[in-house]
């Protein structure tokens, strides 16, 4: 009974943590723009949290640089189960324009397991909302 309640609350109101692992910032401002009055995801219950320990979903932008690799793993482990990872943008999916650079390992999936990939360079805020909704549908089914 309690599990049903917690599952329902996770589906209806996921709390996200926004993490930048070396991106150019374009995807980040689009993710933050999703909170602003035009797109306003807070009316759907999506809240931007400050610390990984409170979050359900990690929204990750940017290619994984070598320096950020350990921190990324640490943050992934600090997030409590069940957790989901969304890779936002071309850089997070495969390295984007920076594929082949010496300090870049590739996409985020070289370091942590990813559930949803959102393409775009940069991603529109509507696409971010769409991605989160698709993740929730995946959980329901």
């Amino acid at each position: 009974m309690l599990t049903k309640l917690t599952n329902w609350s996770r589906l209806k109101s996921p709390w996200i943590l926004h993490l930048n692992t070396g991106a150019c910032n374009a995807c980040d401002i689009e993710v933050v723009a999703a909170l602003t009055p035009r797109f306003d995801v807070e009316r759907f219950g999506i809240l931007l949290k400050a610390t990984p320990r409170h979050a359900d979903v990690i929204v990750c932008t940017g290619p994984a640089t070598r320096q950020m690799k350990d921190r990324l793993i640490r943050i992934y482990e600090q997030t409590p189960d069940p957790k989901f990872v969304i890779a936002v943008g071309a850089c997070a999916m495969s390295g984007g324009v920076y594929r082949g650079a010496y300090n870049v390992l590739g996409g985020i999936d070289q370091v942590i397991p990813v559930d949803v990939y959102i393409p775009g360079c940069p991603v529109r805020p509507d696409a971010v909302i769409d991605g989160v909704v698709k993740l929730l549908n995946k959980l329901k089914g």
Partner: protein
């Protein structure tokens, strides 16, 4: 002041230790030897009034490194260039004259392996903590071998 005025002042003060070119309006390039570098920067700062250092670039020319110091003021952009050898890359630091140069010199140390003498703070700037030492990315003979990628849940 315009370009010609500055060129005449430089020739008057520094004489034949410098070679000056003026390829475009508001762009002057001055070539000095590494020993005269501090004298030239000192002259530029104290007598010509150029206190703003924009950046320090390094170029790998094969047999030697070329270092360019870009200065700017409200009228002209002056670049001082000097060359140092590849086997003994030693460069005097200009941080006593221009305190803001320290970050750019640290980057030169990281990227090319140049040793800057008398630098106030010589720690690595941009390379990660687990970078193997002795690898200097911007040298022309340093190639990067990309490790094979792992595709999660799929073929190799």
């Amino acid at each position: 002041m315009n370009d010609q005025v500055l060129i005449d002042k430089a020739k008057a003060s520094l004489g034949d230790r410098v070679e000056i070119t003026n390829p475009a309006p508001r762009r002057i390039f001055i070539r000095v030897k590494a020993d005269d570098l501090l004298a030239a920067v000192g002259w530029l700062k104290n007598e010509a009034g150029f206190t703003h250092l924009s950046t320090i670039s390094g170029v790998d020319l094969g047999q030697s490194f070329e270092i360019l110091y870009h200065f700017a003021n409200n009228f002209i952009c002056v670049t001082i260039r000097t060359e140092i050898s590849r086997d003994h890359p030693l460069l005097p630091s200009i941080c006593e004259l221009i305190p803001g140069a320290v970050l750019y010199e640290r980057e030169l140390q990281d990227m090319f392996g140049i040793v800057v003498q008398n630098i106030p703070d010589g720690r690595p700037l941009v390379l990660p903590d687990d970078w193997p030492s002795g690898n200097f990315p911007l040298r022309k003979d340093w190639k990067y071998e990309r490790p094979p990628e792992v595709i999660p849940g799929g073929k190799k």
